[in-house]
């Protein structure tokens, strides 16, 4: 089902990223008449988000046409899951756990402190695109509550006083690398 709207969308993201994504999709050998072909959609969206960093409309349209499903359907799926984002996140992605164990140990205060220092709200990105904050619910390290993850690295027993220290560490990294940074676990 080729399913398109009247709006022509112009691609702005690099072609080589689309090639990467297509390699993943090709590897799935989606047969158009297989009723189960959609089964991998969420997995491909994970891949796409990993490749592009986010899932803007042009990527959605591409995935939709590769799966021969309406764009609306892809968009509806993306909008359902917290994990997917349609806007770019910061280079340093801070996630504060607000799971129960962390919450009863004061994670809300930790989140407030991040918000206060970076002067953005949870779910936002700093204007320079460097930092973004979000909350998530339990990473399974409840014994270290309150837990914060930064680009995947888990920080345990984070008290509000420790927040500045964590941020400063990444500021130094940004200065040093001038490129996306991935903390090692």
């Amino acid at each position: 089902m080729a399913c398109i709207g009247p709006a022509h969308s112009i691609r702005q993201l690099p072609a080589e990223l689309y090639e990467q994504l297509d390699d993943h999709i090709d590897a799935l050998h989606i047969a158009a008449d297989d009723p189960c072909r959609r089964e991998t959609l969420i997995q491909i969206l994970h891949q796409a988000q990993e490749i592009f960093g986010y899932l803007p409309e042009e990527v959605q349209r591409h995935v939709a046409s590769r799966y021969s499903i309406p764009h609306a359907e892809v968009s509806g799926v993306i909008s359902f899951y917290n994990y997917f984002t349609t806007t770019p996140k910061g280079k340093v992605q801070i996630s504060v756990c607000l799971g129960t164990a962390c919450y009863v140990n004061g994670a809300d205060k930790v989140l407030q402190e991040f918000e206060r220092i970076l002067n953005i709200k949870s779910g936002e990105v700093t204007p320079d695109g460097q930092f973004s904050i979000e909350s998530l619910r339990c990473v399974g390290a409840c014994s270290l509550a309150p837990v914060v993850t930064v680009n995947g690295k888990v920080y345990g027993r984070v008290q509000p006083e420790k927040v500045r220290e964590i941020l400063e560490h990444y500021l130094v990294e940004i200065d040093r690398k001038k490129e996306p940074i991935h903390a090692q676990n």
Partner: protein, 583 residues
């Protein structure tokens, strides 16, 4: 059979029946809101999301949604206990707490299922007044279909209709939790989506979350503007539906009274879109005969339904060269009015306003397309729906019941039976066959009734012998059925020569602008019957016999397919429409 007891009454129903259906058999009314079952068009909306239909089932921990709970042997159901009634009331209050209760200024007032429920439940205060409410922008971007997501109750009927019945896939539930809503991809303006404006979602929406974009004010303004000459055209399907708004029996034709009413509203001339339909048949038959005799570019697809044409353009762009290049009857009447008629009457086309009354949402979109204008003037200025016209008539105190029967104005008011049946699925094809047969065989057609292509079933086929050339024809209504046909054409397995497609299941009688009937099959069938009744009354039942059409060719256009005809009556909007992302 399964035996159960509902409100102390024994009931016996086949296995798989829902409690709701079982209760209806013993005349127990259970309120519903999200549920909608339209067997005739294979629409089954059982999202079980509103929970208004809950009932008590003995032995069950919680209340059961009767619309989606199958009966079981020995079940004991109570539909009106205190627990049930107070739960339903709370649920309704919850819905209302996230709803702008502006019934007074709402297009759906008195036609709204939510409003009726609130009325039936005797709700007279609003609970949870302080609570947060949805604040979505209202989307009128298409000029045809208006979305007010704040009035959406998430019944998901539109989604089922659009995605499963029409297979357009323009709508999705978006987001989740309290902020969930239904709309096009990324909640973009609808005009950017793959919506084809068939309006079927509007027909099934229980509230005013989906309606047509209204042009009542513009129409009144034109009517009251002394510098304008305002003419109106009325589509075939309108005459067998508008009566419902004035307490006529369903499907009863009220053509003459409608003409009288329009005249009293102040229209300078009242034209009949069926004239355009006859014109379409003549042009289209010419094209069909030429393509069939040359055996090229077959099958040929009819083009009078803009909903279907949009569907083809957006969803099967590779096939978009296939349909006839004829404009829809609405646009033909518009184009002829602003040229031939204006010329004849000595009116500057700038001062001529063409209003059309349509059963249709897509016609609003079509009329606004830049392709349908000449020298910057649209061929049709405003498209109002049957529903809108009923309101305007009522506003100006015109009750159709008491109107005399009057006739359309000439020359664009004369029509044949063939033009009238355009409003029903199969009608366009039947009308074309009546003309093609005579043109090709040179013989008079004795029995004009091609009953094989009539009726509301999804796809109908027939084979007509034209002096040895067997013409395979088919008529499909509903875009889900159209998709099947198009897929076969793409695959090369289609053997049809001529195919009529109507976007709305049942044809225009069931258009998105018709009085709300919730797409009930009985209503649609009555309206269709009304059209064939008119056809039967007519002395002329073949489009090429329409004297005004014949005169128009003689006086203005020349021959079917002539250069003038192409300028006025044909259109191609197919080039460059294949976006890069299509596969």
């Amino acid at each position: 059979m399964v035996n159960l007891i509902i409100d102390n009454q024994p009931v016996s129903v086949p296995e798989g029946t829902t409690i709701l259906e079982a209760a209806r058999q013993v005349y127990i009314h259970i309120p519903t809101l999200c549920y909608l079952n339209l067997d005739a068009m294979k629409m089954h909306n059982q999202t079980a999301s509103c929970r208004i239909c809950v009932v008590e089932v003995e032995g069950r921990r919680n209340l059961a949604p009767s619309c989606s709970t199958p009966v079981a042997e020995g079940m004991r159901v109570t539909t009106n206990s205190q627990r049930v009634l107070s739960a339903r009331r709370t649920l309704l209050q919850l819905i209302l707490s996230n709803h702008p209760t502006d019934c007074l200024i709402c297009a759906k007032s008195t036609d709204c299922e939510l409003q009726s429920l609130a009325h039936e439940f005797g709700i007279n205060t609003q609970k949870y007044q302080q609570g947060e409410r949805a604040t979505f922008p209202i989307d009128k971007s298409s000029g045809a279909l208006k979305r007010d997501p704040n009035k959406c109750i998430m019944c998901r009927r539109c989604e089922t209709m659009c995605n499963e019945v029409q297979t357009v896939g323009a709508l999705t539930a978006f987001g989740r939790g309290f902020n969930v809503t239904v709309g096009p991809a990324e909640m973009q303006p609808l005009v950017n989506s793959s919506c084809v404006y068939c309006g079927q979602c509007v027909s099934v929406c229980p509230t005013a979350a989906l309606t047509g974009v209204g042009y009542i004010n513009e129409t009144w303004a034109a009517l009251f503007d002394p510098s304008k000459k305002v003419v109106v055209q009325v589509a075939p399907a309108v005459r067998v539906a508008i009566g419902e708004e004035f307490d006529f029996p369903t499907g009863q034709p009220v053509t003459g009274k409608l003409v009288a009413g329009l005249r009293r509203m102040g229209f300078n001339a009242v034209f009949d879109t069926t004239f355009g339909a006859d014109l379409t048949v003549v042009e289209e038959s010419h094209e069909i005969i030429s393509r069939v005799t040359k055996n090229e570019n077959l099958p040929i697809l009819t083009s009078c339904c803009p909903g279907w044409i949009n569907f083809l353009r957006y969803h099967f762009p590779k096939l978009s060269y296939m349909p006839s290049s004829c404009k829809s009857p609405q646009q033909m009447v518009g184009a002829v009015s602003k040229s031939y008629y204006a010329d004849k009457m000595g009116i500057d086309p700038k001062d001529l306003v063409m209003v059309s009354v349509m059963p249709c949402i897509a016609k609003k979109y079509e009329a606004a397309m830049p392709e349908h204008s000449h020298d910057g003037l649209p061929d049709v200025d405003y498209v109002i729906t049957t529903r809108e016209l009923a309101k305007m008539l009522k506003e100006s105190g015109i009750d159709l019941r008491y109107m005399p029967d009057e006739s359309f104005d000439n020359p664009l008011g004369e029509s044949t039976g063939a033009g009238v049946i355009f409003g029903a699925t199969g009608g366009v094809l039947e009308a074309a066959l009546r003309t093609i047969y005579e043109e090709v065989t040179g013989q008079e057609l004795d029995d004009v009734n091609f009953t094989a292509v009539r009726g509301i079933s999804g796809v109908k086929e027939a084979t007509i012998d034209l002096n040895g050339r067997k013409l395979h024809v088919a008529a499909a209504s509903g875009l889900g059925n159209a998709r099947k046909i198009l897929e076969n054409i793409e695959k090369g397995t289609s053997t049809y020569d001529v195919i009529e497609i109507m976007a709305c299941p049942g044809g225009c009688v069931n258009g998105g602008g018709q009085p709300y009937s919730q797409n009930r099959a009985e209503v649609i069938e009555q309206r269709i019957k009304g059209l064939y009744m008119i056809d039967g009354w007519q002395s002329r039942r073949k489009s090429h016999q329409n004297p005004s059409v014949q005169y128009l060719y003689k006086d203005f256009i020349g021959e079917p397919g002539s250069e003038k005809a192409h300028e006025l009556l044909h259109i191609t909007y197919y080039e460059g429409l294949v976006p890069e992302h299509s596969t």
